[in-house]
């Protein structure tokens, strides 16, 4: 019996990215080909936040046949070139670093970290090895109006309106990808004899039979969590944050610069995200309820908004509670969870949407042909994503464990070795004597490349001891050339790239060409 009927329970970003990715990969005129059906409730709202993506989203959308111009216009999207972390290391006024999206200069040929460590030349690591710091400091765009869709002069990702993404993709999936849409509530889940899900019942559309069910029901985890009872594994012992207060803030004027990076500003027991879309900003305070309370968190958000000449009292505040962590397994029988139903972590490195993309891509690519093959794919999926969740937790913890902020409480507790995963502790020991490099990580498609660890490590002021490695004359001249090339490239780009706001206006007026 072939695996043909894919039923996705839940809409939003997870449901529709999954529907689009699978439908685009398995498009067919054959009657007996794969069909994709998505059931979403008219009564359950989406989470409404989740506004940063990774560069992978460009390929994900392109493979679905989405026009970048339409996406930017309809989802109020802007270009993201990385993240800027303020106050995370020491909390001093000048404490800020970038985690950019461009690889360090010459990264495929040699490691510049040991050379920078030896002589910083007054520059931060990211500024020495890539142009994106400067480009972001000047609020410039990563490409031009003449750059084709999805191409960039610099590597980029998106900031987008999370509420609009689902609807935009839904329209595209229905119109162009043959996805069948059922707007209805799921009333029961009907098991088969072998424990699989045979069908789900809906209020007005009868029973929907399927071969593979994908749980995109959000925090509720209707299929994987509720129906199958797959346990949730909290990672609150490592990452403390479990609350969010989110607001939407208009710009001061039509000319106000739009930042091309996600700003993350440390607070007393958490941090504030600040994301610039075309028409408004998304600002949110994520914090740990074990270390502070909603009143203090609201006051800090208010102080942050005061810096923009605003007050929290002007806005309606969205309150979100979550347990940081993930399910013990993600694929049970013929059901796999994607999105918040699989797990959720604080949005420190915008990992939620990329995990959806990676999950949908793996399923599309490894689509089991028969039910027998499915349990093998399921096991591989579980192993791979368990590994990925662990690596994301490690990487997020890296931002915290290196802090040298004063005082007891949240930041000090984050340095407690009991809260540091062994895997991260081992890597940090290694990195004390040698800088991160490609082979530190075992999988060929790691979630975060070695470069990302370099950016955060050295942005946070970590000291790797100088060594006898990378001291040959050849190695030094290679490095000097790379630093010079980067400085030149930075100057050229800052002169040539348009302002971020200017480019977005031009795209609104003229669109981007497909080629």
């Amino acid at each position: 019996m072939g695996v043909r009927r894919i039923v996705i329970v839940g809409g939003g970003s997870a449901g529709w990215l999954t529907a689009g990715t699978i439908a685009a990969a398995h498009k067919t005129e054959q009657e007996d080909g794969i069909t994709v059906t998505l059931i979403e409730s008219p009564n359950v709202p989406t989470i409404g936040v989740g506004e940063g993506t990774w560069p992978t989203m460009r390929n994900t959308l392109r493979k679905m046949g989405v026009s970048e111009t339409s996406f930017i216009r309809d989802c109020d999207a802007a270009f993201k070139q990385g993240a800027r972390f303020s106050g995370w290391a020491t909390g001093a006024a000048d404490d800020a670093y970038y985690h950019p999206l461009v690889l360090p200069q010459g990264f495929l040929e040699g490691n510049l970290a040991p050379h920078w460590l030896r002589d910083k030349n007054g520059k931060s690591f990211s500024a020495a090895v890539c142009p994106q710091d400067s480009v972001c400091d000047h609020n410039l765009a990563p490409k031009q109006i003449t750059t084709p869709e999805y191409a960039g002069v610099l590597n980029y990702a998106y900031h987008l309106n999370a509420g609009k993404l689902g609807g935009f993709l839904r329209d595209h999936c229905i119109a162009s990808l043959g996805v069948r849409h059922i707007l209805d509530d799921v009333t029961s889940i009907n098991p088969a004899d072998n424990g699989d899900i045979a069908s789900v019942s809906t209020a007005h559309n009868g029973d929907i039979l399927g071969d593979l069910f994908i749980d995109c029901s959000g925090l509720r985890s209707l299929l994987l969590g509720e129906h199958y009872g797959v346990p949730f594994m909290s990672c609150r012992d490592r990452l403390f944050i479990d609350r969010a207060l989110a607001v939407q803030v208009p710009y001061d004027s039509e000319d106000a610069p739009i930042a091309s990076q996600t700003n993350s500003t440390a607070q007393s027991a958490g941090w504030i995200w600040d994301i610039g879309l075309q028409t408004r900003k998304g600002v949110g305070h994520v914090y740990s309820s074990a270390h502070t309370d909603e009143d203090v968190a609201t006051r800090e958000l208010d102080q942050y908004l005061a810096g923009m000449g605003r007050s929290v009292s002007e806005f309606s505040v969205r309150q979100i509670r979550f347990d940081p962590g993930h399910r013990a397994t993600f694929w049970q029988n013929n059901c796999v969870a994607i999105g918040m139903s699989a797990g959720f972590l604080e949005p420190l490195e915008s990992s939620a949407l990329v995990m959806i993309e990676l999950s949908a891509a793996m399923i599309a690519e490894q689509m089991p042909v028969t039910r027998d093959a499915m349990h093998i794919v399921a096991r591989r999926f579980n192993d791979k994503f368990r590994y990925r969740w662990d690596r994301i937790i490690d990487f997020l913890k890296l931002h915290y464990v290196l802090n040298r902020r004063e005082g007891p409480g949240f930041w000090q507790d984050n340095r407690d070795p009991a809260t540091v995963p062994d895997s991260l502790r081992d890597l940090l020991s290694l990195w004390r004597v040698q800088p991160p490099w490609h082979d530190d990580f075992v999988q060929k498609d790691e979630v975060f490349p070695a470069a990302s660890y370099q950016y955060v490590l050295y942005g946070m002021g970590f000291e790797t001891k100088p060594s006898h490695l990378a001291s040959s004359n050849d190695s030094r001249s290679f490095a000097e050339q790379q630093f010079r090339d980067n400085a030149q490239r930075t100057r050229t780009l800052v002169a040539a790239l348009p302002s971020h706001r200017e480019l977005l206006s031009r795209i609104a007026a003229h669109g981007l060409q497909p080629v």
Binding site: Q144, I145, T146, R506, A509, H510, L512, Q513, P514, V515
Partner: protein
């Protein structure tokens, strides 16, 4: 490079390499004839003589242009405008614009007809580009030219037509382009690329004379 209208394409393709290129402000594609390898280089102008039979309309326009002025009705008035500061304009000698009785001269009438073709040229180009884009016929191309003085000039922001996509057109797409007269233009643009060789020769000749 000088803009050419879709109606000029077949004639222009005989002598000039034709390309699409993006407007730096809007990213929109325009249609161009290459006259040289540098911004001000015109290999087709020798002294006061134009080397080949087809002179692009944009060049024949001379110091004249079109201006629009709000009119009595809903459509604007279209006026022929002359740039009095242009070196080609004088009072003592040359082509008359008007007869003694203020009637326009044959020359001015010729200019007016060039200008009206140019005015329709812009929307014609937009429509032509859109029809080609709908079928994904426009593709990027990179041109590298080596010259006798050892220099190399590279153009990597030009576009041409994809022969393979054009050749694979069928059904309603094929009919639509055929009905609009686009197939002949696509083939003409394709063939025009071979004119680059001739342009290189012209430049080499100038380089050796100098």
């Amino acid at each position: 490079m000088v803009t050419v209208t879709p109606r000029e394409v077949e004639q222009a393709s005989v002598h000039y390499p034709l390309f699409f290129a993006k407007d730096p402000t809007t990213g929109a594609f325009g249609l161009f004839a290459m006259l040289g390898f540098q911004p001000t280089e015109n290999l087709f102008l020798q002294g006061n003589e134009w080397r080949v039979a087809h002179v692009p309309l944009r060049v024949r326009r001379g110091p004249f242009s079109v201006a629009f002025r709000p009119g009595a009705g809903s459509e604007p008035d279209v006026l022929v405008q002359i740039d009095l500061d242009d070196a080609r304009v004088g009072t003592l000698e040359g082509e008359r614009l008007f007869h003694e009785d203020d009637r326009p001269s044959a020359y001015l009438e010729q200019v007016t007809s060039v200008l009206s073709e140019l005015v329709t040229g812009a929307p014609d180009t937009r429509a032509f580009v859109q029809r080609l884009m709908d079928e994904r016929i426009i593709e990027a191309v990179s041109i590298e030219a080596d010259f006798v003085d050892g220099s190399r000039i590279v153009f990597d922001e030009l576009y041409t037509v994809s022969s393979s996509v054009a050749a694979a057109l069928t059904g309603s797409a094929l009919e639509k382009l055929h009905a609009a007269g686009d197939l002949r233009r696509v083939h003409a643009i394709e063939r025009s690329l071979s004119n680059i060789r001739g342009l290189i020769d012209l430049r080499n000749a100038r380089l050796t004379q100098a």
